[in-house]
């Protein structure tokens, strides 16, 4: 019989696993609906394959810590507690959507959960995360801000300027780089001057570490350490998680595209983050099935909610321009 801490740990691990399933199934469902046509318009960037990153990071944060994510932000949003029905409604372009159907997939936000938005200009979330970190430092409540970004964004000036700002002011910011090896179709080994993006932290006198982005506990531990450091006033850290996206970049991009092959895909899939987590957590098949069934119910409710929400009137395009 586990002690109280053991019980807590099992609950927490179960919740982490369920969140990973929730992300995977949200992404698969969204992609399916998108491909049907006419339901989710524009485009979506799904993050299946990268669940260990989303959950590893957010499980190390408090509710009042901030995240700022990217165009590929569904997983991060879900891991931070963003409401599924309102998120699905946003993808559907309905009034009940988190952004009132004006931001769409690339701008999902739920500020009540510390989610300060997906930001679709690559790298743009990092200066803003530095500013939220500055606000947190001035507030003195010990909060931390985490910008998610990809290997591609690590080549933007915004990343470098933000790392420097956070380092000189010792801001409580944890830079979390999901190196999924592709900036759209461009391979990281072509576009990026270093093999491990975490080594770029050295240029800013900050700690940098590379972890296995398919292992949710490895991600969690690295982030927890960086968060502790940030809360102690010791400044920013850079964590790079090597991971892989299962789908193409976005709407026009096929799963394998012309820039990667099935063999590479299969190698990563063999280390699927959900399988790895199930093994690490010692989940039985019945427990895993229980999580999957619960998630299916949540998703069905989210889709039904999104379907039932009315479309906005055209004139609503003029709301929320100014506060």
């Amino acid at each position: 019989m586990p002690d109280s801490k053991g019980v807590f740990m099992r609950e927490k691990l179960g919740e982490m696993y369920r969140t990973m399933v929730r992300i995977r199934r949200f992404e698969e469902t969204a992609q399916e609906l998108f491909e049907k046509g006419g339901i989710i318009r524009g485009g979506i960037h799904v993050s299946a394959g990268q669940e260990a990153c989303s959950v590893g990071v957010c499980s190390a944060l408090n509710d009042d810590d901030a995240i700022l994510t990217t165009h590929r932000g569904h997983g991060h949003s879900i891991a931070k507690g963003t409401r599924l029905p309102e998120m699905m409604a946003e993808l559907f372009g309905k009034t009940a959507g988190l952004c009132h159907a004006k931001g769409g997939s690339m701008h999902i936000a739920d500020v009540s959960k510390g989610h300060y938005g997906a930001h679709s200009i690559v790298g743009s979330n990092m200066p803003m995360a530095a500013g939220i970190g500055l606000a947190f430092q001035l507030n003195g409540r010990g909060q931390v801000a985490v910008p998610f970004f990809g290997d591609g964004a690590s080549n933007q000036g915004a990343f470098h300027e933000s790392m420097n700002l956070c380092a000189i002011w010792k801001l409580p910011v944890v830079f979390f780089c999901e190196n999924n090896h592709f900036a759209s179709s461009t391979r990281a080994e072509y576009s990026t001057s270093v093999e491990d993006i975490s080594t770029r932290a050295q240029g800013y006198g900050a700690p940098g570490v590379t972890v296995d982005g398919m292992d949710v506990l490895a991600v969690h531990e690295a982030v927890a350490e960086a968060v502790k450091r940030a809360r102690a006033g010791e400044g920013p850290s850079l964590i790079e998680a090597k991971t892989y996206r299962y789908y193409g970049h976005s709407r026009l991009d096929k799963k394998f595209g012309s820039y990667r092959d099935e063999e590479e895909w299969n190698e990563w899939k063999a280390r699927d983050p959900l399988t790895v987590a199930g093994r690490l957590f010692g989940l039985s098949e019945a427990e895993a099935e229980g999580h999957r069934a619960a998630v299916e119910k949540e998703l069905a409710e989210a889709v039904a909610f999104a379907e039932a929400s009315p479309e906005p009137e055209p004139e609503m395009a003029l709301e929320d321009i100014f506060a």
Binding site: A66, L68, E90, G97, L98, C99, H100, K102, G103, H107, A109, D110, V111, S112, Y116, G117, H119, I121, S124, M126, P127, M128, A129, A130, G131, I132, G133, L134, A135, F136, L138, N139, A145, G157, A158, E161, S162, N164, L165, I168, E319, D320, I321, F322, A323
Partner: protein, 325 residues
């Protein structure tokens, strides 16, 4: 009313607003260095270097950071040194600050002021002499203030800092030394309300920022010839007080719109289009425009003066309107 300089009015507004609201802070390159930033350095003595915060030369980084701090409940006042440098930071200025509230479904507001000293006449050349208010006025979600004297500088800056939306606050460098009466006490000037700076009946001179004093000089020169010119200043160009400007131009039936920015796609183009739509029947002659010629602003003083608007060019344009056959 005490007479103070335009530059002192800026400092007074900042000091009073920082005293009033502890969430207000100043950030920018060299802002606490007295020899470089006399407008803000004295505030560092009073409020400390955490609230008058020097930044590295990272316009993109610190502008984005100001947007983030604003989202998280602070009211940053960014000192951009020169408007030309905003172009290094155009993503947070054009893509983020004005759109975040909209994109995020009203979940956040961005109470940010970006002070942008600007303008030519100081032989600083093409990338240190621009006047870019017309760029910002076409971005929904941004407000743009263009004060022309000390009283408006103080009153509009107070309003900008209290506004819950991002505001571009332009400061023409040529105006800094000019003195004017500034009301004592807590006087905020509302946005979207034009001010008649000189009353007249024959022609309306609409001046933007640095061109208001030049319009006043031109009106003086025209008065010597018995012409009564009214000078009106929109004070903010987003929002734009079309009604106030139309009341003046409708009264005189003749109008010259003057700005220091470039003619093509300028503020005057927007004002002229807005005025003709409401005054088509009552304008006696076509609307004239005076602006910088469509060339970069050169360093050499004679060439620079050739490109920029001037009192003489304004008076000449007024005479064209007055003598229109």
């Amino acid at each position: 009313m005490p007479n103070i300089k335009f530059s002192e009015a800026i400092t007074e507004a900042l000091r009073e607003e920082m005293e009033r609201d502890e969430k207000v802070f100043v950030m920018g390159e060299d802002v606490s260095t007295p020899s470089v930033s006399p407008l803000t350095a004295e505030l560092a003595d009073r409020f400390g270097k955490a609230r008058v915060r020097n930044t590295p030369i990272s316009e993109l980084g610190f502008t984005g950071a100001a947007v983030g701090a604003a989202m998280a409940g602070y009211r940053p006042v960014l000192d951009m040194r020169l408007v030309d440098f905003t172009l290094v930071a155009i993503d947070p200025i054009a893509n983020q600050a004005p759109k975040l509230r909209y994109m995020l479904g009203g979940q956040v507001s961005v109470p940010l002021v970006i002070r942008t000293p600007q303008g030519g006449g100081v032989q600083n050349g093409p990338t240190h002499s621009q006047s870019l208010e017309s760029w910002f006025m076409k971005i929904p979600g941004l407000k743009v203030a263009v004060p022309s004297d000390a009283a408006d500088a103080k009153g509009l800056l107070k309003t900008a800092i209290r506004d819950d939306n991002p505001v571009i606050f332009t400061e023409y460098r040529s105006l800094y030394p000019l003195e004017g009466p500034v009301p004592e006490g807590d006087v905020a000037v509302p946005f979207g309300k034009a001010a008649v700076k000189r009353e007249g009946s024959d022609i309306t001179l609409i001046g933007v920022g640095s061109q208001v004093p030049k319009c006043m000089e031109a009106a003086e020169a025209l008065a010597a010839d018995g012409i009564s010119a009214e000078v009106i200043d929109p004070r903010t160009i987003s929002p734009l007080d079309t009604e106030g400007l139309a009341a003046s131009a409708g009264k005189t039936g003749r109008c010259v719109v003057v700005e220091e920015g470039h003619l093509h796609g300028g503020v005057g183009a927007e004002i002229a289009a807005a005025l003709q739509a409401v005054l088509f029947g009552s304008l006696k002659v076509p609307i004239e425009r005076v602006a910088a010629l469509n060339a970069p602003i050169p360093v050499q003083p004679k060439m620079e003066a050739f490109v920029l608007p001037s009192t003489e060019k304004i008076a000449a344009a007024a005479r064209i309107a007055l003598n229109y056959a």
